[in-house]
């Protein structure tokens, strides 16, 4: 319950805060249209100014690698990420703003790690 509530708050933040993301990527992503997906980490760079993530995703289109970007390493740290929490091969769930042009990928705003930690 608490987990769900916390996740809802994160999601709410994502939905309502398009203006704050305008710093980087508002032109590319629709922050009113968010999605959630689960996949296996194939590549991850927890960088500033952005997270770079390649996730192996299986959906109705089949299995493929999709590239996402997301919050900076510093902001993920402040949301609870710690070194070693996200590794290649981990199965994670992401919530992300979808690209305006309808392509794969998106801007990751919330992550549930393999051990259930959310940030």
């Amino acid at each position: 319950m608490i987990k769900n509530l916390r996740y809802s708050i994160l999601l709410c933040g994502l939905l309502l805060s398009a203006a704050v993301f305008a710093h980087h990527s508002a032109a590319l992503y629709d922050f009113q249209k968010v999605a959630t997906t689960t996949g296996v980490i194939k590549e991850i760079k927890l960088n500033n100014p952005h997270l770079h993530l390649v996730l192996e995703v299986t959906d109705e289109k089949g299995t493929r690698n999709i590239t996402y970007e997301g919050h900076s390493r510093n902001n993920l740290y402040r949301r609870g990420w710690r070194p070693g929490k996200l590794n290649v091969g981990d199965k994670i769930t992401i919530t992300y703003a979808t690209p305006r042009d309808g392509s794969d990928g998106g801007y990751v705003a919330a992550i549930t790690a393999q051990d259930g930690a959310q940030f």
């Binding site: 708050i9 994160l10 709410c12 933040g13 309502l16 805060s17 203006a19 704050v20 993301f21 305008a22 710093h23 980087h24 990527s25 032109a27 760079k45 960088n47 500033n48 100014p49 952005h50 900076s72 390493r73 510093n74 902001n75 740290y77 402040r78 949301r79």
Partner: protein
């Protein structure tokens, strides 16, 4: 007897002077601060938000004609954007303020920018180059810190455009959370250390391109200093570039 009397009077004087000094002391704004709300809510100056002069509109139009409205954001390339951008971040990047009687230093995590605000009575130098962070001098008016920033490098995007002649005035004071009417950003989930709020009233004055001064008020909450990190963003961009050239 006389000695005792002198000692008592002296002690009393010390007590009175100390009390008065405390009463007159400037507020202590040393802390790690994080913006959680603003008025207006949008920290970027979108089209139609700022009243620009015809010359101001022409400046921005020239930039947008050349690069479009969806131009690459400098933040995505770790470009330190200076003032007023550093004071307007609502994406959890903290600002550490170190206060001394004659100098206030602001360590801005985003793009690792530093503001030095001189309180020793000096003016702006006449032979100093422009920079994006500018040259800042300040003084206390009662419990309000007043900062004047000049010598700014020109900025042509619609997001707080300015010329080299721009001045930015900030009036900064402490208050408490219950007095803030602006809606807190839902993105800021970090808990504050206490209910103190640092209010920064920022005014952009640049008559050449603003028909009237553009204003925004930012509200910062105090957070733990373990929220601060190095913003080693340019290193990552360099490593990415190296990787692209790997043989």
């Amino acid at each position: 007897m006389t000695n005792r009397f002198v000692i008592r009077v002296a002690s009393l004087l010390v007590l009175v002077v100390s009390t008065l000094r405390l009463a007159w002391a400037e507020p202590d704004i040393s802390a790690v601060w994080m913006a959680f709300a603003s008025d207006p809510a949008a920290v970027r100056l979108g089209p139609g938000q700022a009243k620009l002069t015809p010359a101001g509109e022409a400046l921005v139009a020239r930039f947008e004609a050349a690069y479009g409205q969806d131009y690459p954001d400098p933040g995505a390339f770790c470009v330190p954007q200076g003032m007023p951008s550093v004071m307007l971040s609502m994406v959890t990047y903290p600002i550490e303020i170190i206060q001394h009687p004659k100098r206030i230093t602001m360590l801005v995590e985003m793009e690792m920018q530093v503001r030095r605000i001189y309180l020793d009575g000096r003016g702006h130098p006449g032979d100093y180059p422009t920079t994006r962070i500018g040259h800042s001098i300040g003084h206390w008016e009662g419990e309000t810190l007043v900062i004047d920033t000049a010598l700014l490098t020109g900025w042509e995007t619609r997001n707080w455009p300015h010329t080299e002649n721009a001045r930015i005035e900030e009036r900064i004071h402490l208050t408490t959370r219950d007095k803030i009417k602006a809606q807190p950003s839902p993105f800021i989930t970090i808990k504050p250390l206490d209910d103190q709020v640092l209010v920064v009233e920022l005014t952009m004055i640049d008559p050449e391109i603003y028909a009237e001064p553009a204003r925004i008020t930012m509200y910062y909450q105090k957070v733990s200093d373990d929220n601060t990190l190095e913003y080693d963003c340019p290193v990552d961009l360099w490593l990415d570039a190296l990787e692209e050239q790997r043989k």
